[in-house]
């Protein structure tokens, strides 16, 4: 299992979700991904994307106008 970071800052919805989706597609179940975002909508959209696609939201941290959304990759065919 490995940890990864995705820079989705300055991107507006739905691009942070698309970039997360595409990155997760190349990861293994159990891997973790921190997504850095500036669009506040990502705090709703990425968790929603996780819920419907079987991934786990580990948390959302807010840092000086940025969000760090932590995701654990779910089973491959969730």
């Amino acid at each position: 299992m490995s940890h990864h970071t995705l820079d989705a800052r300055r991107l507006l919805c739905p691009l942070p979700v698309i970039r997360t989706q595409n990155r997760v597609a190349g990861l293994a179940p159990g891997d973790t991904l921190d997504v850095l975002c500036t669009d506040p909508g990502a705090a709703n959209d990425i968790p929603a994307w996780c819920r419907i696609n079987g991934h786990e939201l580990l948390g959302i941290e807010r840092r000086e106008g940025e969000l760090v959304i932590a995701v654990r990759v779910g089973p491959g065919d969730a």
Binding site: L12, C13, P14, L15, V17, N44, I52, N53
Partner: protein, 347 residues
């Protein structure tokens, strides 16, 4: 035991595609959603920018619909592929720069490719005969099925009973008698069906879901093409057309002037790609300058920016000009009077 049939549903985030997917789910079909991001989607992007949009739910409605329906959603970045649809629409444009019929063909064709790749059986859309003047007429629905290559594997559950039976109906994968015969622009049948299905909340986008149907946006896009001498764009171009006050005082340059704090923050992200101007002596907007300019142009640009600052009535306003390359400098300028800005400059 019969095979579990699978359908991919085009999900826009609006009510019709939500109903279509739900109706087919209720027939025991496994449904997954697909959504295409063209760059022109009203959905999402503007939520994060303007204050007036911040009261709206900060959510992507396609994702929200998928969650309500308990299905997966695949969002496909189609920005690059969509260019050919917009630049060379086989069926032309609608009222503005909206190539609706070509767009529908494009999305159904993409969904068809996805369907084949992922072993799904058919495609569903929320189309209704007569609902849209260009893409959803009885004459154009067959065009979508034919030109996309999907043929009779395209099922429109909301108006299927007005159309010839598709393969999913003929093969008994879905029961045609449980589908619908909605027709025309009235929304009442959809609202009744939503009530019957227990769907109480759904998105009702005002003014459609695509910026290309918006006259003001289409004018800005046409202006961009004319100024550059070619019909082309990238994602940043089409994002910037959604934001700010656009003025073209000379054919060779344009200003994009923020109207509020949210737009300032958004435009700040582009400040290294453009010459930008800000007022220093008075509170005022950030402006991006798109084009190649001479010294006299810079002064005119500074006077325009000063006009939109709180120093509009002052004798002089300090405007900082930061070129894309090179050192920043400050111009002391007299703000243009309101009468000095012809309506024709506003794009």
């Amino acid at each position: 035991m019969s095979k579990q049939r699978k359908a991919v549903a085009l999900i826009s985030g609006g009510l019709d595609s939500m109903l279509a997917a739900r109706v087919i789910q209720q027939q025991g079909i496994h449904v997954e959603g697909i959504n295409f991001f063209t760059g022109f989607c009203v959905e999402g992007h503007t939520h994060a920018i303007r204050k007036q949009d911040r009261a709206r739910p900060k959510r992507n409605n396609a994702l929200w619909v998928a969650e309500q329906l308990g299905m997966r959603l695949h969002i496909v970045d189609s920005v690059d592929d969509y260019k050919q649809v917009l630049l060379n629409p086989r069926h032309g444009y609608g009222k503005n720069l909206n190539p609706c019929l070509d767009c529908k063909v494009f999305m159904v064709a993409k969904a068809h490719a996805w369907m084949v790749e992922h072993g799904f059986d058919f495609i569903i859309t929320g189309e209704v005969v007569g609902q849209r003047p260009m893409s959803q007429r009885s004459a154009t629905l067959p065009v979508v099925a034919d030109e996309s290559g999907v043929g009779d594997l395209l099922l429109r559950p909301l108006c299927a009973r007005l159309l010839p039976p598709t393969r999913p109906e003929r093969e008994g994968w879905v029961a045609r008698e449980q589908l619908f015969a909605f027709n025309g622009r009235s929304r009442k049948p959809q609202i009744r069906l939503a009530n019957a299905l227990g769907i109480e909340e759904y998105a009702q986008p005002a003014g459609g879901c695509c910026f290309l149907t918006d006259a003001s946006y289409a004018t800005k896009l046409a202006d961009l093409w004319q100024a550059r001498g070619q019909r082309d764009y990238d994602l940043d171009d089409i994002m910037l057309l959604k934001v700010g006050r656009h003025l073209r005082p000379r054919p060779h340059f344009k200003l994009v002037i923020a109207r509020e704090e949210g737009e300032v923050n958004f435009l700040l992200g582009y400040r290294r790609q453009f010459t930008h101007l800000t007022t220093r002596s008075h509170p005022g907007p950030l402006a991006l300058l798109d084009g190649r300019v001479e010294e006299t142009d810079l002064e005119l640009a500074a006077r325009i920016v000063a006009r939109y600052s709180q120093g509009r009535d002052a004798e002089r306003v300090s405007v900082e000009v930061v070129p894309r390359e090179g050192a920043a400098r400050t111009l002391e300028v007299r703000p243009l009077a309101a009468d000095d800005i012809p309506a024709a400059w506003h794009v």
